[in-house]
Symmetry: C3
Subunit: 209 residues, 3 copies
């Protein structure tokens, strides 16, 4: 997940996102009485699952295999959960914001990496959404629950919208840094507004005959 665009800022946000995703996984694992190892795996899967699937589909070495920071960051999340226990609940608002930051950063990273590998923009938007949202799906499969993002809130949809805005900025020939920032901020803001104003996608249901 190296980028030449905005090294230091990017790395901080990437770390915050990884931490928030791992915390969300470890918390749900705790709710299912997992042991430390199980909670670590679920946290790690939430944090790196989307990017790993992206890299496997793109045919490149998964990003976390070249830098141990992602495994370490997931360990920090586990320790945090073990130390703070239920008090983590009181930090809910902060973790929600950090999770939204992660969603934004991961989406832009996924789009950027895919375009650099010369895939078309629609593959890039797909991969951006996968990077942001698939980790949460793997998390829910591991704890044997129906994936939350398929039923509740605007989550992956914010990634798709951010991807379309990325494409728009490209069409306007904006510089790469500006495009990345506008797209990422869009994902973040859409996610926040959707939760604040309880905006959902319609459900699909087959009226009983």
């Amino acid at each position: 997940m190296h980028t030449i665009v905005f090294p230091s800022f990017y790395q901080i946000f990437d770390f915050i996102g990884t931490l928030a995703f791992a915390i969300s996984g470890a918390r749900l694992a705790a709710g299912k009485d997992f042991d430390w190892f199980g909670a670590y795996v679920v946290g790690l899967t939430t944090a790196i699952g989307g990017g790993t699937m992206r890299d496997v589909l793109l045919g490149v070495t998964p990003f976390w295999m070249t830098n141990p920071i992602y495994l370490i960051c997931s360990a920090i999340a586990l320790i945090w959960i073990i130390i703070f226990k239920s008090r983590v609940t009181r930090q809910d608002h902060t973790w929600f914001l950090f999770d939204a930051i992660g969603l934004a950063v991961f989406t832009v990273t996924g789009i950027d990496k895919t375009l650099h590998l010369n895939f078309p923009i629609w593959v890039a938007i797909f991969m951006g959404t996968l990077t942001g949202a698939a980790g949460g799906v793997f998390r829910d499969v591991l704890i044997n629950e129906i994936p939350l993002i398929f039923r509740k809130d605007i989550y992956a949809t914010a990634c798709v919208a951010g991807g379309l805005i990325f494409y728009l900025c490209m069409q306007l020939a904006l510089p790469a840094e500006v495009t990345a920032i506008i797209s990422g901020v869009s994902v973040f803001v859409i996610r926040l507004l959707a939760v604040r104003f309880h905006i959902h996608l319609p459900l699909v249901h087959l009226d009983k005959p």
Copy 2:
């Protein structure tokens, strides 16, 4: 999923199969109160999941990343479900036939692609079965149900049988087109006969001691 063997017919059947698989995913998602996004993802996973796993194992770029038709086709399936709702149930017979067409086409595609990459025939039969049947397994994992094909009906077994017939035709040195057609029709007919005459595989059970 390009083939030079029978371009136009093949593409129509491939499209019908993709549509049928995506419909089956989106319908089951609807039964679990998924939103539009969730239903789309489950439909798409059902349609492209098997072929994607095949391509990842074979080490080639997943087929749908070079042609947006598969993502579009899954969107059409979702729109169909949203518009027709429970009336889709009245189209059950048609969708069952289309699903069997998909099973047949995907199996032959998987075998063909694997052989062209110079893997042995037993890997090709494995990959053909994976292409035809794995999407349904991923679908059931995503909606948190025990995979249907592990407990009911002849489904993946029809793919294996079609693969063995493919091998037999190769031994008889039949032309590639004829081999593909005989193998595909076998999968289709075995699937239909199995459902028509309620043919099942035996269950494995451990008698309680």
Copy 3:
């Protein structure tokens, strides 16, 4: 999974491990009334799932695609279950030992293969653990249960410990064969001691506020 280190012994242990893993998958599938095909797939996934994920992440052709022995071995496991039915339960102690042998052999294989591909030791330990323990996680996802190894016993943790011992032996510049044997025996012994003395990892739980 070829190795020049200790060909014949290694192959025997590799076969025993594959058999034990496939038996564990097929037994759990039997408990869920799967048919022969379903039980075969669950057994196969348990046996080759971890190594397959390792090879996909490492970007090499999955090991079982170059040698049909693993598919055959899983078929033998299924036939065993079908013939012996509930009497398999009386063989519990043997299968437990064989499973621990598999855990040890698969861990060392995973570490060895990863190092030969020039990845750093921490990636190798990760891949060793994945090779040993991930198959059981895929098994539990397929039968729609919460992965057992996230909540019970020392299992994957034994792989991690064996990996650290592997690293220690490397630092001591021990010969490759000795390193592999010490590391594998460690995994085996840790697994046995943990079960014998009911040693568990602490659970993560969020005290209700």
